[in-house]
């Protein structure tokens, strides 16, 4: 019974694959495997939303994991592997957008927005202080003097 069910299960399963397939070989050198993992975390699964290929169950992600390991075995540096991927898939494949002329506004947006916010706040505060503590006009001075005099008379 048990076995039949499992067979039914795998028939239904069709071509879908989980992230760790039995055929997916990890690199034998732990240091190299760790490097591969780090690189994979930076690569986008091409058919998912904002997932890295480490986290993805998609078949295509698995293929790319295999390619990354192959490149590492072939002696590529981390940067070379990333370049290898961007040459094929474009910057789109990188989860972290490159810092260049077009993305500079994106990367600097937190600082820019903070700066603008600060300027607005400081200007606002200054305006308000000026508004409330504006020096008295001549007329007001006179009236104060008058009031003081009246008091003095009584």
């Amino acid at each position: 019974m048990n076995k039949i069910m499992i067979v039914i299960f795998w028939l239904l399963m069709g071509t879908s694959a989980f992230a760790v397939g039995v055929d997916e070989k990890r690199l034998s050198d732990p240091a190299e495997e760790a490097r591969a993992q780090e690189i994979m975390k930076q690569l986008r699964c091409l058919v998912c939303q904002n997932q890295s290929i480490v986290d993805s169950d998609a078949g295509l992600a698995k293929d790319i994991r295999i390619i990354v390991r192959e490149r590492i075995l072939a002696g590529d540096t981390d940067q070379q592997v990333l370049t290898f991927m961007t040459e094929r898939y474009g910057d789109w494949v990188l989860l972290k957008p490159p810092f260049d002329g077009a993305t500079i506004i994106l990367w600097l947006s937190p600082l820019l927005l903070l700066g603008v916010g600060f300027i607005i706040i400081i200007r606002n505060q200054r305006n308000r202080k000026m508004a409330t503590s504006a020096p008295l006009s001549d007329e007001e001075q006179k009236r104060i003097a008058q009031l003081l005099n009246e008091n003095g008379d009584n």
């Binding site: 992230a19 039995v22 990188l94 706040i121 308000r128 409330t132």
Partner: protein, 650 residues
Amino acid sequence: MIAELGHFALILACSLSVIQGVFPLYGSINGNGRMMGISLPAAYGQFLFVSFAFAALMYSFIVSDFSVANVATNSHTLKPMLYKVSATWGNHEGSILFWALILALFGAMVAFFGRNLPRKFHVTVLSVQAFVGLGFYLFLLLTSNPFERIFPFPNEGNGLNPLLQDPGLAFHPPLLYLGYVGLSVTFSFAVAALIEGRVDAAWARWVRPWTLLAWCFLTTGLTLGSWWAYYELGWGGWWFWDPVENAAFMPWLVATGLLHSAIVVEKRDTLKAWTILLAIIAFSFSLLGTFIVRSGVLTSVHAFATDPERGVFILLFLFLVIGGSLFLFALRADKLQPGGLFAPISRESMLIINNLLLSVSALVVMFGTLYPLLRDALTGEKITVGPPFFNMAFGSLMIPLIIVMALGPMANWKRADLMGILSRLKFMMVVSLVATLAFYYMAGGGAIMAAVWLGLGMWLLFSTLYEWSERIKLFKGGALKRILRQPRASMGMTFGHLGLAIAVLGMAATSYWDSEYQGIMGYGDKATIAGYEVTLNSTDGIIGPNYTAVRASFDVNKDGQKVTTLEPEARVYMTPPMPTTEAAILSTFLGDLFVVIGEANSENYDLWAVRLYFKPLQAWLWTGVAIMVLGGFISLSDRRFRTGTIKGKK
């Protein structure tokens, strides 16, 4: 028949919203009491009819009436009853109807509980609420009719996405929507205040509980979604900066800011224009979020183009609501007289910093989410803005926020003494530093940023506790009485900040010290992770109501003692055919052991792909958020929200 009645009720609700929007507003401007009188009955009636429409749709799902197109596309007879019911709001049309339902519910609640508000103001609020509702009714009736029939109708439905067939996700959208729509009330109050040209402490007292309620629901909804992703998607991640998550996170950030700035309006009668603006922005983000998700524009630009009718409607509606309210703001903002002055170092200033950082982070999240879209539209280049960007940009904004968060509650209104506060916290700085180093050492070192986040969490934890102990004079007689007699709002603040501290510690630990094992296991094979020894015992075939699955049984031992048996499943749903992973999790105080079963080798089915994760302090994250929400509800029960709030304004 039932579906037609539902459709009809929806049309009636739509008509009522026009009546509720137009006549009472006219009456309140011209002082016509009769016209203003329409407002309340119309609000109740609207709620009644939308409830009926929603019930009609739910009924169609429960009885699997496949002649209704929506049911045919999203349901299936074999689906368990819970998911038949939850499918009502688990699709585009149904979820918009659900939005309209909550909107009408809150409208009716404002109508009922707001009876002691000044009449003109009350009526204006309800009019604004009705106009927002009208937008949703028209969207439903013109572009997304949930009651549309198909002929010939199929004998069986297409089923619901299996990933959505989970209790966590059944209740995630309703909670999120309660939050989104709760912000509509705040929005209506803000717009009504602009129309009337006045904002005062009584206004803030009215707006605070609604914001707080919306915030509690938003927080719960977001966390439920995150928790679901954690146990359902099968690799132990809990936040992906996915556009859909971001769409829900942006209003949360602004609502959190609004919660704090409304305090300043209430206590100090200042920051009024800013608070109104935040209320408008918070709801604009909710609308944007709903429609971004619903129009599918972020998944791909093409989803938008394939259904231009909806897209154009959405754009128009967003333009009217956001543009209109901002225009009104520009016209009227200077009418809101600023109140009390304050020094650069004061509680007001710290709350402004809070607002600045939260608003900027919401904008950065928005920019990062929309950037690929903008770039694609402008240059045709495709680019990804993924977690590394958000973690860096958002994270760096949160560091100053948490630092200030510890100081804020200790600062006086108007003018505070920063050096004094720091010297009061001197001891706590040492304590948090020691705790951080001890923790860091026990975890076996790690990234510098890990220590930074740990330090921030500890700093917030200890300084919040210190502020509390100072406030209630913990070490003097009768402290217990003072603890219990604290105003609920201050209690809520303490819980909220403590909760965040605990959540930050959890996030830091689980992000930087998680460990992982991936490998192939045969029966009886052992794998070790974080001190646990995990043995694959057996696997078994399972037939569920609408899926088949393999259930594996793992023995978990620690120090030679059996701890528990974990049984993860790999399921394959029948309609639509799709595999899902059901992770098995052993959750402890120190961390979660997370087990996932994968493929077997196709010859003998005796070797299995297995993934194990250890997520240190994962439970702290969920617990921390739960404490935050608890704080929200405690604050909501504060006396001044229940009694004597509006009397002064009458």
